[in-house]
Symmetry: C2
Subunit: 585 residues, 2 copies
């Protein structure tokens, strides 16, 4: 027996296997995941595992290594989040998200830090040796909402798109702020004296870390898109580039002390539309599926390790400090959301309701990022107290808030996600309104979001697409392309359900030469409608849409992180098609 | 700048990126890969890289770590080979393959070892300090044909299926023999005296190592199949199990000093049909694609590292020893193939022609396995000579033999792979003959391959399928199921080419209730034909087959390791369908 030789890969494989089997186990009993969030169950499994290891070895089980977490477990989850980010609601609410992420996080850091320092001044609590700087450092790591925890809970409760993107976007983008504040306070802790210039440098760093991350990410993303231009003869390694470039963007950003999370999100969002157009459909299925799979496994491992790491002798218990930490986390977040939303609502027509505000405040879950940061702290005599407080906050938010948020959403009747995706009609109208608003903004000289969006689209179709797409020909009409895309999506869904045999035949399509000339997949570009609709194309479109209107009702299911579109089997739908065909014959 | 922190993943990602970009580079110029095998080009890139590193650092570039090779680079390639192994020709020729792999390898090891020892006795060559045992040890590592190198070359020359499986199967299964002989001679080298009992133990080990590997592999494979029974609600982690279980089988086998390669192949072949039936189509696409991608990357990395490792100061040059090694490798392999084939041909009707024998002998390429084994040798004063000889043999076989084998195959007019897969008619006849032969063998009391195959099929459908498949219902008729499978395959191909709109409609299929009732994917089982064909089913089948006969012409393209079936776009075919439909209307 030669265990040493295979130990590293063997143990990694076994951990992943345990995580996957645990996941299967939960889903065998359908009732369990509908009451308790999966993250709680996984932490629970981790606690049991940790208890067993502790019991057998009589020493603390290994804690999750911060390096492993930041270098290997976090990137897949963030990549998945960025790649499948619904870009429209994200960019529509980018201002609000940034406000929450930057100002909100700073508010929380200083609020929690200063009020905990106040608690430390109470003599009865015996905490007078914890300095203000240490409290602020602790505040900086405990204040940040965790994207992994937020995703794990919010994907199961299906709140409306705007609310989801506000909480989720904040949790992703506050990474830049957290990185800066954490490193700033950590270096302050080690400095003999702090000059005022250091504070100003710190403020300047916000912009460097955040914008630098975006820059690194976009550079790698566009390079990835450019690379996939040349993979036509070697389809099999196409999916690799998506993963390699986004991982490189993360590592490069981390290397320069920029925000890796921001970089990988910028990379994923930047490359998505071009890569999707360049690579084959099968490669794209592989990319999507593998991303989901990988993030799902990382996610599972993180929560299990969180449970395992909780058990042990790393903790120093101090009731007042720990209790007040939990209370301050809740109170300062609630206050921050209230104040910030007050300002946001003054400048927006579409305001954030008080119910939504409550869910935003309540959904501020903490997770593995805090946990890893607290272990990365330099050694000092109260580190174990900080570890204990962090663990309690994480367990409190994940268990208590995570488990009660679903009943609360039901109780408050928070506006839910719409069941179906927008119809083609709606999509066309939305696009039309976008162009209209861009025109109005242009005339009135107001540089609003529609103006910039329109300019970006123009730049994209004029330059970027020509460089980054393999087969770039000016699309005939965006409606036809949209129709083709839906048609293709539908075809794949039908084929997967083994229903192809019953699909209607459309020799007319072939005759009119629409689909035939467009075997290669081209991205849908938001070209202005009016400049492409010549009469005969329009006539054809009308014919096609009239013939196939039944299809429009069936579009993809709502966004959910753990499923991919098109898993349901459209048996009912196939029957409907059949009836329609019989009538037409 | 904090490079230390991200060094490991960053450098790994960069190497993979380099490998992938090199691959894209070759394929941009279509002429290059058609003349020079990719493996040669990659080694060449590696040599240049190694030269640059050597030039810049003025010290030897890092050699490929044997642990990394055996634990991380080799398994994906072998898994891919096992999973996509054409099982029928493999099992039909299993006797011949085993003869080549076991007896042939032993023959080569002792042939090369003893004759090199003879060379060492020539005083002029100054090699008298190389003992017989060291020569045999060297023989044991240089004799084994390398699956990675063989695959890389043979997938490009498309020889007939039997010839391909003979060379490729041998290269995979000789691992068991190589492992045993290599470890045996290595331990003999360190022993003060060798007893005859040690030699007998060594012979016994063959069976333990080989059969143990098969056992470990099958155990994990069937467990994997069983696990995928329960993944219906959590499709997203399905592909993971295929990779986890096969990797575990490899590691477990290595841990117990069994043959990891044999284990992973048994695992992949064992689980394939059950996993395929249990998991969703998208998951299966992901599994297939990812396996191809992974093995392709591993393969590329291995050849690049082979090139890089060649440069440096690890070599001791001795003209006679190195030249005679190359010559003996060629001569003993040729002799071995001739002698073994003589015996094989006496017992087979379907003989191996002399052209085929030449290609088998000439296709005995050496590769990275030899290279890793020679670096694993215990330190002794002539190790650098062995490294030099191994490097030369590898470069000679990969460059000279690899580049000339394609012209030779053309020149000798070796029987090629058939262009198209067998038609449905052929498949039905083959299956019918199988049953017939099984019956004849049963009556005559001869326990031949057909008898065992039949028994195994019976055992499979009676017990294994019930345990391992999720939705197991006794299939109605294997012809209908085969038709459905082809239909489904075709549907996916059509949908991928964006041609679904023109697919013919088959309301009759829906009406007859054939496909409708069978949305779930069931494996095709070779149930005997005669016991299921009741008249109305038969009538329906005839109708279906008559209507769709044009499809039969189009079946999947021939097996090729770097492409997946269904990448070609069936535009021509869609037109044909259209014409047929017009006629029928």
């Amino acid at each position: 027996l030669d265990y040493q030789h295979v130990q590293v890969p063997f143990e990694i494989t076994l951990w992943i296997m345990l995580a996957s089997l645990a996941k299967i186990g939960f889903h065998l009993y359908n009732k369990l995941p509908s009451v308790v969030p999966e993250s709680c169950l996984l932490i629970f499994v981790g606690l049991i595992m940790g208890g067993i290891i502790y019991g057998l070895n009589d020493k603390s089980p290994p804690v999750m290594d911060s390096d492993i977490f930041f270098l290997y477990l976090l990137p897949p989850i963030v990549l998945d989040a960025g790649y499948f980010m619904p870009s429209r609601p994200f960019f529509e609410n980018i201002g609000t998200i940034l406000l929450y992420a930057v100002v909100g996080t700073i508010w929380n850091v200083f609020g929690i830090g200063f009020s905990l320092y106040g608690i430390c001044q109470v003599k009865a609590f015996r905490l007078q040796d914890v300095s203000l700087l240490h409290n602020l450092l602790f505040g900086s790591l405990i204040a940040a909402v965790d994207p992994v925890a937020v995703l794990a809970v919010f994907e199961e409760i299906h709140v409306n798109e705007k609310l989801h993107i506000l909480v989720f976007g904040e949790s992703l983008l506050n990474d830049a702020v957290t990185v800066v504040l954490y490193k700033l306070f950590r270096s302050f802790c080690e400095m003999p004296a702090i000059k005022s210039v250091d504070v100003f440098v710190g403020v300047g760093k916000f912009f460097v870390v955040g914008l630098g991350g975006v820059l690194v990410g976009l550079t790698f993303g566009l390079t990835a898109a450019f690379t996939t231009r040349f993979t036509k003869d070697i389809r099999v390694i196409e999916p690799l580039f998506v993963f390699l470039y986004s991982y490189l963007s993360y590592l490069t950003a981390e290397m320069f002390h920029l925000s890796g999370i921001v970089a990988i999100i910028a990379c994923a969002m930047g490359m998505k539309r071009y890569v999707e157009a360049n690579i084959s459909l099968k490669s794209h299925t592989t990319v999507k599926y593998f991303m989901k799979m990988w993030s799902s496994v990382s996610d599972t491992l993180i929560f299990i390790f969180l449970g395992v790491s909780t058990i042990g002798e790393n903790h120093e218990w101090n009731w007042p400090y720990i209790c007040f930490t939990v209370i301050f986390c809740l109170v300062w977040r609630a206050l921050g959301v209230l104040v910030l939303t007050f300002f946001v609502n003054r400048f927006h027509v579409n305001t954030i309701t008080s119910k939504d505000q409550f869910i935003i405040a309540y959904g501020g879950l903490r997770g593995a990022i805090c946990f890893s940061l607290v272990f990365l702290l330099p050694d000092f005599h109260r580190k174990k107290l900080f570890i204990a407080a962090t663990t309690v906050v994480i367990l409190f938010t994940v268990f208590i808030q995570g488990m009660t948020i679903r009943p609360l959403v039901d109780l408050l009747a928070v506006k839910r996600e719409r069941e179906s995706a927008p119809t083609v009609g709606e999509q066309i109208h939305i696009r039309f309104l976008d162009h209209l608003l861009a025109g109005i903004e242009d005339i009135s000289g107001h540089w609003g979001q529609y103006y910039w969006k329109d300019k970006l689209e123009y730049f994209n179709s004029k330059y970027l697409q020509k460089i980054l797409l393999r087969e770039y020909d000016q699309p005939k009409s965006s409606i036809v392309l949209l129709y083709e895309k839906l048609e293709r999506k539908h075809a794949i869904e039908l084929a997967e359900a083994g229903q192809l045999g019953h699909a209607p035949s459309h020799p007319s399509l072939l005759r009119s030469g629409f689909l035939c000339s467009n075997n290669n997949r081209t991205a849908i570009t938001d070209k202005k409608l009016e400049d492409t609709l010549n009469p005969d194309v329009l006539e054809n479109i009308q014919e096609i849409l009239a013939r196939n209107l039944y299809r429009i009702r069936r579009t993809g299911p709502a966004y959910n992180r753990h499923t991919l579109p098109g898993e349901a089997e459209p048996v009912e739908h196939a029957k409907e098609i059949l009836i329609l065909r019989h009538k037409s014959l």
